[in-house]
Symmetry: C2
Subunit: 305 residues, 2 copies
C-alpha cells in the first residue's frame, strides 16, 4: 500500500510567519486522514494542494489550541464548498461540546453530518477499521488528556509459490484464497502440506505512529514497536529536561531513545519550542541515539515505507 | 492626531493562500485597535509588524467565522507572550460564552483579564471613550446581529489668535484654556468678546467608519456622515444584487452610493466573494458613482486623514 505523510505544520504554541502549528495530512491507499488541526491548517492544505473533499476522518490528539483551533474554520469551509459527505471527528471528550457550541453561536450551518468519536480511555483502543486499515489510539502523558494515533495496514495475503503449488494436482484454483490466508492444505491421503511450503511471506504492511504531545513514556513502546515511521514530539533539547517534564513534553534525546527502543524504521521529530531558531540542534542531539532521524519539512510529502 | 489603518485581510468566507478573512489594525494617536479577527489574524499582525502587546481593545462586528475564528488563537498567544494587561473585547451578545467555552475546554489559562462588552442594541451606542477618542456602534443589516464601528477623534481645542488676544490686556494666560474651549470673554465693562474673534477653527478631527457585513442600508448615513475614510463591504457586483440581498451583503455600486450620500472623504471596498479573481471590476463599478474609491491592499498602512 502506498502511504505518504505531508506535514502541514510542526511548531508548538504560537504560529509565526514561517511556521504553522501541528497538522498532518496522511494518505494511506485511497484514504486521506487529517491529524490535528492548528490554526491555519486549511490554508496549509491548500498550499499542499491536498483535496479538501477527500478528508473524511480527522484525528485530534488533544484540545490545546495549537492542535485544534483550525478545526471550526476548516469545517465551515467544507460547508461553503458544498460538502455533503459525513465527517468523522475523533478526539478527547469535550470536542463535541467545543465544536457544537462554536457552530451554534457563530450560526455555522454544516449541511453535512459531523460524527463525533469522543475518547476518554487511558488504554489503547481500536477506533477505526476498514478492509485494509486500522487506527489505534496511543495514550500519551501530557498536561491534558491526549492520544497519539497508530495507522496500520492490515497484514497482507501471503504470496503463492506457484512452483510448489503446481506440484500438487489436488490443489485447485478455488483453494488459493485459503492458502493465501495462511491455511495449510490437507491432501486426500491425510498428509498436511504446511502453508510455508506453498507460500512466501507477504510484502510488509505499512505503519505510521504520530505521538504529540507527551512526556517521555516507555508505555507506548509495545504499541509503536517496529512502525515504519514515527513522528515524535521533541519540544526541547535535553538540557531543558526539567522544563520538558514540567510542561508535559519530550526532549530530542528522549524521542530518539523511544525510536531506538521501539526499533522503528525512521523518526521525524517536531513540535519545537519557539525559543529555537536553528533546528539542526534537534537533529544533532537525536542522531547521537537514533541515526535515522529527520527534521520535518512542511508541505513536502514523505513516503512512509 | 495621526491615524493609520492597516488592513490585515479583506476576503469573505474562505481563507486562501493569497488572502485572509476580515481583520484590521487601526492606530489612532497612541491607541491601537483590532477590528474583526478572522482565522490567521495573529500571523497577519506579525507580517504587518504590529506589536501584539499594544492592542488593548478588540471590536468584533459579528460572530460569523470569517470575522472571529482567529480570536481564540490570538488570545492564547497573548498569554504565551506573557501579557498581563486587561483586554477589552467588544462584540455581539454570545461572544463571552463562545470564548469562555473554548478557553474552558482547551484549558487556555489566560493570566490576564478579558473584559467583555456584549452588544445587543439595535441603536447606535457610544461604547468607548478616552480623553481624545470615541467609538460608536453602527448597527448593520446582516443575516446575524452585526455592528460596524465608528472611530472618531473628539473635537480639538480652537487655536488662539494671538494677534487679537494681545489687544486685550485683561485676558491673562490663565484664561487661555477657557477661550480654547470655545468660551466668549467678558471684559470688565461688560462687553462680550465673541470667541470667534479670539480664535481660529481647530484642525480637523479624524474619523474612520468600518462597515462589514451589511445589506445596503441608508440608516447608517447620519452616523458616517463626512467621515474621512469609510471601509464598506462590497461582496458582489451589482449584477448579483439579488444574491447580495439574499445573503445580507452589498454590491460595489451600493457601497459607492453610501459613500456619496454620506459625503465621505474616501472609500475602500472589501469583503469580496471568492468568485471574483480580478478585483478591479469592483473599483470600476464603484468609481462610476464615487471616484475616490480604492481597493484594499493587505498589510500596507493607509493614512486616514
Amino acid at each position: 500500500m502506498s502511504a505518504s505523510l505531508t506535514i502541514l505544520g510542526f511548531n508548538s504554541a504560537i504560529p509565526t510567519v514561517t511556521s504553522s502549528p501541528t497538522s498532518q495530512f496522511l494518505e494511506m491507499g485511497e484514504r486521506c486522514f487529517l491529524i490535528d488541526c492548528g490554526e491555519g491548517t486549511q490554508v496549509q492544505l491548500r498550499r499542499a494542494k491536498a483535496r479538501f473533499s477527500k478528508i473524511n476522518h480527522i484525528f485530534i490528539s488533544h484540545l490545546h489550541g495549537d492542535h485544534c483551533f483550525g478545526l471550526p474554520g476548516l469545517i465551515a469551509s467544507f460547508r461553503l464548498l458544498g460538502r455533503e459527505t459525513p465527517l468523522h471527528v475523533y478526539g478527547p471528550k469535550g470536542i463535541k461540546e467545543l465544536l457544537e457550541t462554536i457552530f451554534r453561536l457563530t450560526e455555522t450551518h454544516k449541511g453535512f453530518e459531523v460524527i463525533y468519536h469522543e475518547l476518554q480511555s487511558k488504554k489503547s483502543e481500536k477506533i477505526y477499521e476498514d478492509h485494509k486499515l486500522e487506527v489505534f489510539t496511543i495514550p500519551l502523558d501530557h498536561r491534558i488528556y491526549c492520544n497519539g494515533y497508530l495507522f496500520k495496514e492490515k497484514p497482507k495475503e501471503r504470496h503463492l509459490d506457484m512452483q510448489q503449488v503446481s506440484k500438487y494436482i489436488e490443489i485447485e484454483t478455488c483453494d488459493y484464497q485459503n492458502i493465501k490466508n495462511g491455511k495449510d492444505f490437507i491432501l486426500s491421503d491425510g498428509y498436511v502440506l504446511k502453508n510455508d511450503v506453498l507460500t512466501n511471506d507477504p510484502s510488509k504492511s505499512v505503519s505510521y505512529a504520530f505521538c504529540s504531545d507527551t512526556r517521555y513514556s516507555e508505555s507506548i513502546l509495545p504499541l509503536i514497536n517496529e512502525v515504519d515511521l514515527l513522528y515524535h514530539e521533541a519540544t526541547f533539547l535535553h538540557e531543558l529536561k526539567e522544563m520538558a517534564d514540567y510542561t508535559g513534553h519530550t526532549t530530542a534525546l528522549e524521542a530518539a531513545r523511544i525510536a531506538r527502543k521501539a526499533n522503528v524504521g525512521k523518526l521525524i521529530v517536531g513540535h519545537f519550542s519557539n525559543r529555537y531558531h536553528d533546528l539542526t540542534v534537534f537533529l544533532d542531539e537525536a542522531r547521537e541515539v537514533f541515526p535515522n532521524t529527520n527534521l520535518p519539512q512542511a508541505l513536502v510529502p514523505v513516503e512512509i515505507l
